[in-house]
Point group: C3
Chain length 171, copies 3
């Protein structure tokens, strides 16, 4: 899986200047999900100047169910990585909805990942890499971001991870 | 001339129904608390450009005591919601102190809420709604924000919730 | 120790306009560590406009080992304070690498500190003060920041604290 991803990322780099983020997604066989209706008391994203602040989101399978459980107890690192990858695709779907076209993304600025963790689980970075790797695969160097990954004893709906981010967009 | 008059009349009508955030607070029977002295090693708020970053705050009752305990163990969702509501009023008091007038708020951009949680408590969003609902009640559409709500196993002073936010202000 | 620090901070204030941050560090006998190679899926810092977002970092001793353990269980508040102080020096080293010269720092805007905590540990602010006090000692009033300190049940590599920050830089 990792080798495959690295191979794809290498290919990505080769064609980075020729392809749009949407074409990258297709190339990588990644599909953006539908964006579920926002909670009500808040919105999915707020733009201020050239920055978009995205609300924290969790991983949902194609039938809309959350991937639940604590890392180091209910889920393996690999399952956590896959969950974080799903959140990345969801946040890209939110971004696309906001911007119309992912080409308008100038830089993935900051990612904060919260990992639902047993108290003895210390591999939060390996889990959140599932999110970061999607950003780099889709946007190349523009996808490289500052990041904080931490554990937490409890997340909404018992979801496995929650990730928020800040994105810079072109004028 | 006629157009100008009509425009002025339209504007006048709009203003008649539009209330300032302070009037909204009075209308809603919400009172802003005193802002306690900041801790020393940090400040309540920092402005950079048109953004104000507010430090994380916890819920205090009118006698200055923190509302303490973990959700899903010591406190109900309702008690958590009320606690988050108190933090919202405190942060508005901080904002008013910084800005002089809450009319200068242009947008509530981002809210991060940390809920002191038992490991099996999954209703962090319902708790932080207590905060978000105040922002929307006071600022309307300008109060709608991006948000992340997570659980944590421990907060300063064992307070029930801690909330920080980023606010955009008019020039 | 605290008295010594306060005395040094008083001296710092007196000469604040005469000394560069680098001279302050020397005066305070603080040495910036080497910046370890970044993880791969993310970078140490991203600049957007006049803001630099720094990735979350943990405390490492001079031999590169993390200071590990939970506050309120494995480590005392003093040990946590010292750990947070080490993170501050590391983040300053990252900043210096980005900027060339710490003189270009205009304001420490926002600090978020995550403290690896037992569920009954409530002194997160005292721990993160170790970070904040360095910023104020080095930058004076420009070092005063908005801050959020929370507990967490688990951090990467079981490190004692993790701290990220946002810094405003001069044009």
């Amino acid at each position: 899986m990792k080798t495959l991803l690295l191979t794809l990322m290498f290919f990505t780099t080769l064609v980075a200047f020729a392809q749009s983020p949407e074409e990258q997604l297709t190339q990588l066989n990644m599909q953006l999900p539908e964006v579920p209706a926002a909670g009500g008391s808040f919105v999915d994203a707020v733009r201020v100047g050239n920055l978009i602040y995205l609300s924290g989101k969790g991983p949902r399978t194609s039938n809309g169910e959350y991937i639940k459980g604590k890392l180091g107890q209910d889920l393996t690192v690999e399952q956590g990585y896959e969950a974080a990858r799903l959140v990345a695709l969801l946040q890209l779907a939110v971004l696309k909805k906001e911007l119309g076209d992912l080409k308008r993304v100038k830089r993935i600025v900051k990612v904060n990942g919260y990992v639902n963790s047993a108290a003895t689980f210390y591999d939060q970075p390996k889990v959140i890499n599932g999110y970061s790797d999607v950003m780099i695969a889709v946007f190349g160097d523009m996808g490289k971001h500052a990041r904080t990954a931490v554990g937490t004893n409890a997340l909404p709906f018992n979801m496995a991870v929650e990730v928020e981010m800040i994105v810079e967009v072109a004028d």
